[in-house]
Assembly symmetry: C2
Homo-oligomer: 203 residues x 2
DNA sequence: CATAATTTTATACACTTGCATAATAATGAT
DNA sequence: ATCATTATTATGCAAGTGTATAAAATTATG
């Protein structure tokens, strides 16, 4: 029988992608090593050549998902040559745009979330990758107020961060799962408006 | 061997509860008919006496979960002898309190969410039970403004509802998964404050 | 081009899964 | 008490599961 080898060795990444595609389409229950192999266009035995077993494959897939999500969110914040208000707006804009806003992303997140409460290794992966969103938001919020000559106490900053984080998460889920409900920049605008209202601050 | 029959016939409900408990603790993957039977303290064969199969059991469990969630949310809104602002506050308060705010509730919700995008029957159950939260929020928001002598156009009402819905969902998830991060009424207060800010309305 | 190393397939195995069915126990009716 | 009905267990089966392993195909190396 003809094999399926491709130039370069990206099999490992292909198998990870196939895993995420399989989970997206078939759910955790429908994700077997054989189906993942089908998605990748190889036979199931190959998985054990690149991974010690299904568990390691799933962990690698979860880590890859988190990396995809957070890399987009981080880029928006990392440019600290601009005012904190702008960075805050960029963060909201990035988090409420494709590819973070997408059915696939939310579905994968929802599939993995319960696993991180059952499998210790998965929870470690999450905790390591998790850029505590509040840890991003708190300095941005504090500095945005400082830029307006207002010094907030820590408790106030924390509470604002929780609220802003909540509105972003809520809009993320709503926008991701609601088919074509939202126009191009509608979701971003709703997020920025709500954040400005919560902070009583022009951003 | 001794059997396990109990007075009254609540086996069906017991099996549904056992299913939710099993999903909560073991995840969808770990939820087999045998494990559910263990959780219920019966043998696996009994499940097929009350349900046509595992699929029907899972659907019944999902319907039960949605019913539990929405019954609490609805009660808070149904008292239309009070001002819309109060009903809105009651709705937020109920949605951001136990038992809706609880790790179990969010974990169960997350487990089922992807299934509703794979299994048509599950999506029907969700759509039937789903009290479109926006359909609750929109009239409450419209009437709250009317009570202040302000008539909002439909688009504005819709956008407000989306934002309020988002902050509630976001706080729900954050509060449910964040261990002991929040004091007794802290989450409710954060939700009401944020909503008031978004609407620029005292509620 | 021959041979070693790497990558991929093919196959088999032990175990789990959902489901079926017969046997058993408990309850209700007369 | 006897018998029919309902509820529960016990057991088995076919299909699917993750994993192991050997064979085959491909690539790299001299």
């Amino acid at each position: 029988m003809s094999t399926n080898r491709r130039e370069g060795n990206n099999r490992r990444q292909e198998l990870i992608d196939a895993t995420l595609n399989c989970i997206e389409n078939e759910g955790l229950q429908g994700t077997t090593v054989r189906k993942v192999a089908d998605y990748a266009g190889v036979t199931n035995g190959l998985i054990r050549f690149y991974f010690s077993g299904k568990d390691e494959l799933m962990r690698a897939a979860y880590a890859a998902l988190l990396d995809q999500i957070y890399s987009h969110a981080r880029i928006a914040v990392d440019d600290d040559t601009v005012k904190p208000q702008v960075r805050l707006r960029n963060f909201i804009s990035a988090t409420l745009s494709y590819p973070i806003v997408a059915p696939r992303t939310v579905l994968l997140w929802a599939n993995f979330l319960p696993v991180t409460y059952i499998d210790t290794e998965m929870s470690i992966i999450r905790n390591e990758a998790y850029v505590e969103t509040t840890n991003i938001l708190e300095p941005l919020i504090r500095d945005s107020f400082l830029d307006n000559g207002i010094a907030l106490d820590d408790k106030k900053v924390k509470n604002y961060a929780i609220q802003v984080n909540a509105i972003i998460d809520g809009l993320w889920i709503e926008g991701s799962l609601a088919g074509n409900k939202f126009q191009r920049n509608e979701l971003v605008n709703l997020g920025i408006e709500a954040t400005a209202a919560i902070l009583s601050l022009k951003i």
